[in-house]
Structure formats: structure tokens, C-alpha cells
Point group: C2
């Protein structure tokens, strides 16, 4: 009893007779045709294995922050992240990893502080706005499998749960990409357009959230505390056949995607008394699902 | 280096000479006079001690859900929660606790399904709206130290990170209060007006978030998995002098509170290039701080 948000699936046959309710968001995703999905390029999939065999998989946002993403790929391929630790876990905010010694030199070819890739032209993105208000900007919606926000001219990735950003010092520094953070709480949207967002966690969030919070200022771990350590960071494209993970993401151009957004905004399963009539962008992150390992 | 969100405090003296920046949100809170704060009543403070000595402190929202809150207090005073376990941890959603056997009888006097205390009249709350849009409703703001949302006639608590709600079955069931959940991700505001919210976590969120996610449907723990257990749940009012915790909360009527909201919306410390110009209600939860234990 008292199973909050019990699935409506159980009672669907009965309801179908009574009222033929519209499909739920989950049902729309489950029934969407193959054409509604696209596999993420293996060259844009960052696979981070931690000591203890936890795995985090991150989609990299080349369309939004190409130079920062190129930096990250070069750091990965140089093995720079291997042995790096999680140093900061601030509750309802971010988990951050990088070189705790602050002395590990960057490999050659890394741009120490790329241009501020905090926003980009809206044109060319294929942005599709949701018909709902946003607290922070004129429009929010989706573009190529990404959540996005826009003022009509520029577009940017929003700071939602699971998004990956580039730690930086005071401006004009933009960060090299050698220090990264994941959002682990309510979307800190005030950071939008102030930091380069470079990706989204597709799997393994638990490895970033089910961690002791840091006791020091801004959630940094106290010196001497054992820290989760990256055993190996790789691009899926560099992993051998059969072992590399693969994911597909629902495409915002698909008619079923539009129906999914509407169903997220207007939940009509038997649990809900009053559908919200709206959904904010951080509660409408495009559906993602794993594919069998590629061969 | 790359300490994301490095505090502006370090560079303040220099900046003060150059431009005299307005105080940050944190500075406004730190400098607010005693009159801007009010201590929470010990009878409305729920103190949950878990095995392993982690403590969670929750403010109960009597003004929004009086009968559910009365139920919870009666359950606490009957010792009903002692020995109860956390049974569900769904990433980016909720951590939920209750009687895993689903057979523990409720003590006498508990209303099994109170009226649906999902909203209440706006009048009498002292609601102060923020001057910003909300994705979900007409107005959001604050009332008596609580975040609140309103359509102009009714008001309700919003589902923000750290808010506590009452698990329920399908309507018309509203839940007794014997099964509770805490929001541990981006605010699932679609649940607003569909469930009784009864409180807010003031301290100890880590005990609810730094937990393994459940592997079963909706994040329930698999049978046989070790679950965090409540050793003792008490009201602060029932704890002995010197051991009971105390908290104060910044009051929305205080001029400094209005300044704090504005500073949250327009961050002007040296880290920010572009202040957001707005803040959503879940990023503007009233500041809380512990007081010395009461004697």
C-alpha cells in the first residue's frame, strides 16, 4: 500500500473499457517506432569507469561547445583523466572531478581557456520550442536530442539534473575541460550562459549522487578523505567491439516526441487528479535508452 | 584552480574599491538582523535518527496540511516510525520510507485518509509573490518561511528538492502520513496539488540522497537488500533540554528577505558574467540555520 506513483499499467485494461485514456508518457516512449530514435555517435560517448566497477556514460555536446568538447576528447585520449578523483560533492548542486593536486600538467594541444562557448546561434540547431513558460528565459525546448533554451537569437544548454559542465576560474577563464561537474540537484539555471555545458549523463548517475557530501566550503572533500577515483576514461569509439556501450535518444523531430512532451505536461493516468498543464525543460529531458553493445 | 563558483568574498576588498558591488545573497543572509529570523516551534520539528547516527530534521507544515501533520505527530508519539525502513530511492525523484511489510497496524486515532490537503485558501497565509514567471502556475513566492505557489485563490507547497510528501494510493486515498517521501532531484512540480506536502528537510539531506538507488520498478529496493532503518523519530518538543535541535528560518516579511530573493535572481559577484534576472521557487527556498540546542 501507499506505493506513491503506482504505475497505471496495472489498471489499464479496466480503464480502457471505461474511458480509453490517452497513452502515458512512458507508453508513448515504449511504443515509438524505430524512426523516432537515433543512436548516439560512439565518438561522442564518454565512458568513465570508477574504481569499484561503477560506470558513468556521458553524451558530449559537440554542437554546443565544440572546442571544449574537443579538449575533453583529447584529454581522454591522452589518458589524462585516469587516476583523477571526485573532489567535490555539494548537496543539491554539483559533483565535481579533476586533478586534486592542481599540478598535473595538461597534455600538448589542449586549449587552456577556449572561447566562451556558453551560447551559440539558434539558427542551424533545429530547435523546437515547447509551448510552456520558463522561469529563466523566453523559450525552452529541444534540439537534436538535447534540451535547449533560447532568447530567439541565441541558444544554450540548460543546467538540468545530470548535465555536465566545465569548471572554471574567474572570467575571462572558461576552463579547459580538465575539471568537470555534474548537476546533482534542482537545476541551477542561474549558471546558464555563464559556464560551458558540454554533456549529459546517460547512465550511472548513482555513481555521482550516492556519495558522501563534502564537509568543506562549497562541498569540497576534506584533505585525507578517500575519494572516488577514475580508473579509466575512454570514448566509446575507442573501445573494442562487443564491449563498447551504445545508447539511442528520442529525436525531437519525431511526432511521438511532441506527444511525449504533451503527456509529460498533462499526466492523465489514474494517479493524477489535476494534470499540471505544463512541464519545465528539466522535467522534459529527451528519453534515452541503452542498446546492445556494438559489435 | 578551476574551483567552480569560487566565492567572491576573497576578492571583495579589491572590488569594493573599484565598484562597490551590491552584497551577494549569502552576505545578505549573514548580515540580516535578528528581526529577520524566527525560530521554528519545537512542536513542528520532526527529528529522525537513523541507525548509524545520521540525523534528519524536518519542519512540519501545519499551515498547509493540518490533519496529515497531526497524523504524523501522533504516529511519531506512538513510536510508530521506530524500526521503519527506507524502501525506495529513485534517482532524480524521491526517497521514501514506511512499513515495508505493509502490515504494521496504525495506532488508534490516526485518520487513515484525511481530506485532500493538496491546496488551501490563499487568504490568511501572508503570501508574498516573487516578481518572476513560473513554468507551472500563475505565482510563486513565500509565506511564513515556506515556499508557496498560487493561482490567486488557492495556495500550495511546491515540490522542490528536500520537500516532504505523503505517499498515497490511487485517489480518493490521500495517505495517512505513515509513508513519507523526500524529493531528491529536480523539483517534480507536476505532483503539486496531487499529493499532500507536509514539510521540508532542514538538515540531514545527505542521509536521504547519498544512498544506493533501488533496482526495482520506481526505485524500490529489492527484497533482501539491507535498508536504512529509523532508530527513533521524535518531535523536538519531546526531547530533553540540551539535546533538542533548534532552527531559525528567514521570514519573507523581512526587507532583507526581499533583497535576498533579488540577489538570488541577479548574481553580481565576480564569477557571473550574465545574471539570470529571475529565479524559480525551488532555487529560492527560504534560508535556514541551526541555533544552539535549547536548554
Amino acid at each position: 500500500m501507499k506505493q506513491l506513483f503506482r504505475s497505471a499499467f496495472l489498471s489499464l485494461p479496466l480503464l480502457a473499457v471505461a474511458a480509453s485514456p490517452p497513452p502515458s508518457a512512458g507508453e508513448i516512449v515504449a511504443r515509438a517506432p524505430a524512426s523516432a530514435w537515433a543512436e548516439l555517435a560512439a565518438g561522442d560517448l564518454l565512458v568513465i569507469d570508477l574504481d569499484g566497477d561503477q560506470r558513468i556514460v556521458i553524451a558530449l555536446a559537440t554542437a554546443f561547445a565544440p572546442i571544449h568538447v574537443a579538449n575533453i576528447k583529447a584529454l581522454v585520449r591522452a589518458g589524462w583523466f585516469d587516476g583523477i578523483t571526485i573532489n567535490r560533492v555539494q548537496d543539491n548542486y554539483v559533483t565535481q572531478w579533476g586533478d586534486a593536486t592542481e599540478k598535473k600538467p595538461l597534455p600538448p594541444g589542449i586549449v587552456a581557456s577556449p572561447p566562451a562557448e556558453y551560447e551559440r546561434p539558434l539558427a542551424g540547431l533545429g530547435f523546437r520550442a515547447m509551448p510552456y513558460r520558463d522561469a529563466y528565459t523566453a523559450k525552452t525546448g529541444h534540439a537534436g536530442g538535447w534540451p535547449a533554451a533560447s532568447d530567439g537569437e541565441l541558444a544554450w544548454l540548460p543546467h538540468c539534473y545530470g548535465m555536465i559542465g566545465v569548471g572554471r576560474n574567474m572570467p575571462p577563464d572558461t576552463g579547459s575541460g580538465a575539471e568537470l561537474y555534474a548537476v546533482i540537484g534542482h537545476g541551477p539555471r542561474h549558471l546558464d550562459r555563464n559556464i560551458a555545458l558540454v554533456g549529459r549523463v546517460l547512465a550511472g548517475m548513482e555513481a555521482l549522487t550516492a556519495l558522501p557530501r563534502g564537509s568543506e566550503t562549497m562541498g569540497f572533500y576534506k584533505e585525507g578523505i578517500a575519494r572516488p577515483t577514475i580508473r579509466k576514461a575512454r570514448l566509446a569509439a575507442d573501445m573494442s567491439n562487443g564491449e563498447r556501450p551504445a545508447f539511442e535518444i528520442m529525436q525531437s523531430e519525431a511526432p511521438d516526441f511532441t506527444r511525449w512532451v504533451e503527456a509529460r505536461a498533462n499526466r492523465k493516468d489514474a494517479f493524477f487528479i489535476r494534470p499540471a498543464g505544463a512541464v519545465d525543460i528539466c522535467n522534459a529531458l529527451p528519453p534515452v535508452r541503452p542498446l546492445p553493445s556494438r559489435r
